[in-house]
């Protein structure tokens, strides 16, 4: 028994390094997708202190909108633009209807409100676009090829590349634009942000819009891979362990955390999963993150908190 758990899996890995590499790479690629979703969380939490549980549904909503538009004959490029517009409008509405009235409430209240929001978005999306499973095809190539004996998929690489591009764009945005700097300032101190000269509500609209766009990208990736349906919103649950691993406020944390979770989960599933009856992906990421947290409570990239009295 112990042998099966502690030794055999490692022998397997060593015994077939190419397969192991494939597993790791596929884990990394899945990890990129987790990162994308986690990124949406981090952006909003950093700028507004809201733990936005609705991020997962925003991914679904964006994908549903895109598919819905395309099904009605709108060309891809236009559908993309329209979806971005819809997500921005959504951010605007959320700020206007919900966030504005919840300023200064406790974190848990805001969190619960976003769960409510996730119900609204889910209901809205399915009312507008229907709840049947939809195929999303935005023309991403999906052929497999081999490098050094390792089997790779073009789609996955494309997804990884888009993720990388998105992160770079965001990094540039945060570091080199006035709004970006204001966003970073607001994360540290709301007063400071006001002195930059951008009203809080604008900042909120912007981050929610950006989070919507990030959600759209994630939605395209996941949707193209496994179809657009309700379960897409559950992707959020996958992103949460990434968050506690990487820290709620750290963009690099979201990315590295996503990769760690992606790889860890894949490896565990392949090498240990069969031993315990499979389907461990529902909880493994959480246990991994939890084990990690006990040793580093502030997450990977969080700052150490010195408590004062």
């Amino acid at each position: 028994m112990l042998y099966n758990f502690l030794i055999a899996p490692f022998l397997d890995m060593a015994g077939s390094p190419v397969f192991f590499a494939e597993v790791v790479i596929s884990g990394l690629l899945t990890g990129v997708m987790y990162s994308l979703v986690a990124l949406g969380f981090v952006l909003i939490f950093k700028a507004s202190g809201v733990f936005n549980f609705a991020q997962g549904v925003m991914v679904l909503f964006a994908a549903l909108t895109l598919v819905g538009l395309m099904e009605r004959g709108v060309p891809v490029w236009l559908a993309l633009i329209l979806t971005v517009a819809v997500m921005t409008a959504l951010a605007f509405a959320i700020e206007r209807i919900m966030l504005r009235h919840l300023v200064n409430q406790e974190g848990i209240i805001l969190f619960m409100a976003t769960i409510g929001l996730s119900y609204v978005l889910q209901g809205l999306g399915e009312t507008l676009w229907g709840s049947n499973v939809k195929r999303l095809d935005v023309g991403i190539p999906n052929a497999s090829f081999e490098i050094g004996g390792i089997l790779l998929n073009e789609f996955d690489l494309f997804a990884a590349a888009s993720g990388a591009v998105l992160v770079t764009v965001l990094a540039v945005f945060f570091h080199y634009t006035r709004i970006g700097r204001a966003l970073r300032a607001v994360a540290d101190d709301h007063q400071a942000a006001l002195s930059v000269g951008i009203p809080l509500k604008h900042i909120w609209i912007i981050v929610w819009s950006v989070a919507g766009v990030v959600g759209l990208v994630a939605g395209i990736m996941w949707g193209a891979k496994s179809g657009v349906q309700f379960s897409l919103s559950l992707i959020a649950l996958k992103a949460l362990p990434v968050l506690i691993l990487g820290g709620f406020t750290s963009v690099p944390g979201a990315i590295v955390g996503g990769l760690i979770i992606g790889v860890g989960e894949k490896v565990a599933e392949i090498y240990w999963g069969p031993l315990v009856g499979g389907a461990i992906e529902t909880w493994f990421a959480y246990m991994l993150a939890l084990a990690f947290l006990v040793f580093r409570p502030q997450g990977l990239f969080g700052e150490r908190i010195i408590e004062r009295v």
Binding site: F51, I97, M98, H101, L102, Q105, E106, G107, I108, I109, F111, M112, A113, I115, G116, L117, S118, Y119, V120, L121, Q122, G123, L124, E126, T127, S131, L237, L240, P241, L243, I244, F248, V276, G277, A279, I280, T282, W283, Y286, M287, A289, L290, L293, V294, P297, G299, E307, V309
Partner: protein
């Protein structure tokens, strides 16, 4: 307005620290309890099964979560998992040792859930706030998985479903397919009343004060001598015990049979909604919140019928979900401190009536 407090003075601390120090409140509560016991005479099967029994069970779970989140300040999203432990352990115990009184089995199952809660509460020493909340999701998913994977929990039956076997108390069938809704309701009611009282006792004394101290200012609490780990773990344990008993009741007094899906994350969310909407740190609020979250969907389902509106069933489902979400947001905006606070304000007004302050 209804209060006549002049003359209700206290000559002892025991009198001053009663749960309901005001005579009129005691009358109202007594009347409410009497009425609750009389309900089976008035309500039909549908109301008992679809509204009142789930209301009681959710209220109990909400009290449990409120002890942890409202009083001790530790947010948990693992309620469903702890409830599942209660449900499955009750099944396991009563099918293997059918002679134990079913209520005792509930309590033992509650203890099992408490133990599980204790383990999942351990990280609370190191992590706080949302980190902890997310960490408790581990409990939710892990418990769901293990109860599904390990056949022992459901006696290796083919479907993986647990079904409440018939069990009697005082010669009356209280669980199983032949137990009447009235009996199940009355059993649930009695359990909930007892546990609500116990919860109130806990929070109005030493334990509750230690919890609230940790909640309000954990560093100051430690500096005045409260041991943070023990205090938090006690909250996790007791909270999980309540959830475990509620889970047992879910299977045995309400649904009759269940799979782990009955205890999914949305149940956890719903219980948390009850706590928040009812009011953090209020036992009464747990009841109000449970009533709100139980009744709103019933209302939303029936409202279109009542106004003669008909639409496709899936469409109606989506709109329901949407309205439910909107209502919650609306409520959080209007009264973030919950129904209990609303009630408290009303009560204050009534006590001061006709004066405004």
């Amino acid at each position: 307005m209804i209060y006549r407090e002049a003359g209700q003075f206290k000559t002892s601390y025991a009198g001053d620290q009663r749960v309901f120090p005001i005579l009129q409140d005691r009358w109202c509560v007594a009347a409410a309890i009497l009425f609750a016991y009389a309900i089976p005479l008035l309500a039909n099967e549908y109301w008992l099964q679809a509204v009142l029994i789930p209301f009681l069970i959710f209220a109990l779970a909400a009290i449990g979560l409120n002890l942890l989140t409202g009083y001790c300040g530790q947010v948990s999203l693992g309620t469903g998992g702890f409830m599942a432990v209660g449900g499955y352990m009750t099944y396991k115990i009563t099918t293997n040792i059918p002679d134990i009184n079913i209520i005792v089995v509930f309590l033992i199952a509650g203890l099992c859930a408490a133990l599980v809660g204790l383990v999942f509460g351990l990280p609370s020493l190191r992590i706080k706030g949302f980190y902890l909340a997310v960490a408790t999701l581990a409990a939710q998913f892990f418990i769901g998985w293990i109860l599904n994977k390990v056949g022992w929990f459901y006696n290796y039956n083919a479907s993986g479903t647990i079904t409440a076997p018939p069990r009697e108390m005082f010669g009356i069938v209280v669980t199983g397919p032949h137990a009447s809704a009235e009996v199940r309701y009355l059993v649930a009611l009695s359990l909930v009343i007892v546990f609500a009282l116990v919860a109130k006792n806990l929070v109005r004394g030493k334990v509750g004060r230690a919890w609230m101290a940790i909640r309000d200012k954990d560093i100051a609490a430690e500096i005045i001598g409260i041991r943070p780990l023990q205090t938090k773990l006690l909250a996790f344990t007791i909270s999980s015990f309540y959830c475990g008993v509620a889970g047992a009741m879910t299977v045995f007094l309400w649904l009759g049979s269940a799979e782990t899906e009955a205890f999914d994350i949305f149940l956890s969310f719903n219980i948390l909604f009850m706590v928040i909407i009812g009011g953090l740190g209020s036992i009464l609020g747990s009841f109000l919140g449970a009533a709100f979250i139980t009744l709103v969907p019933v209302f939303l389902t029936n409202a279109p019928l009542m106004i003669g509106l008909s639409m496709p069933i899936d469409m109606q489902k989506h709109i329901e979900v949407m309205l439910f979400g909107s209502l919650i947001i609306f409520f959080l905006i209007v009264e973030p401190n919950g129904l209990a606070r609303l009630w408290q304000i009303t009560k204050e007004k009534l006590r001061l009536w006709p004066f405004p302050y």
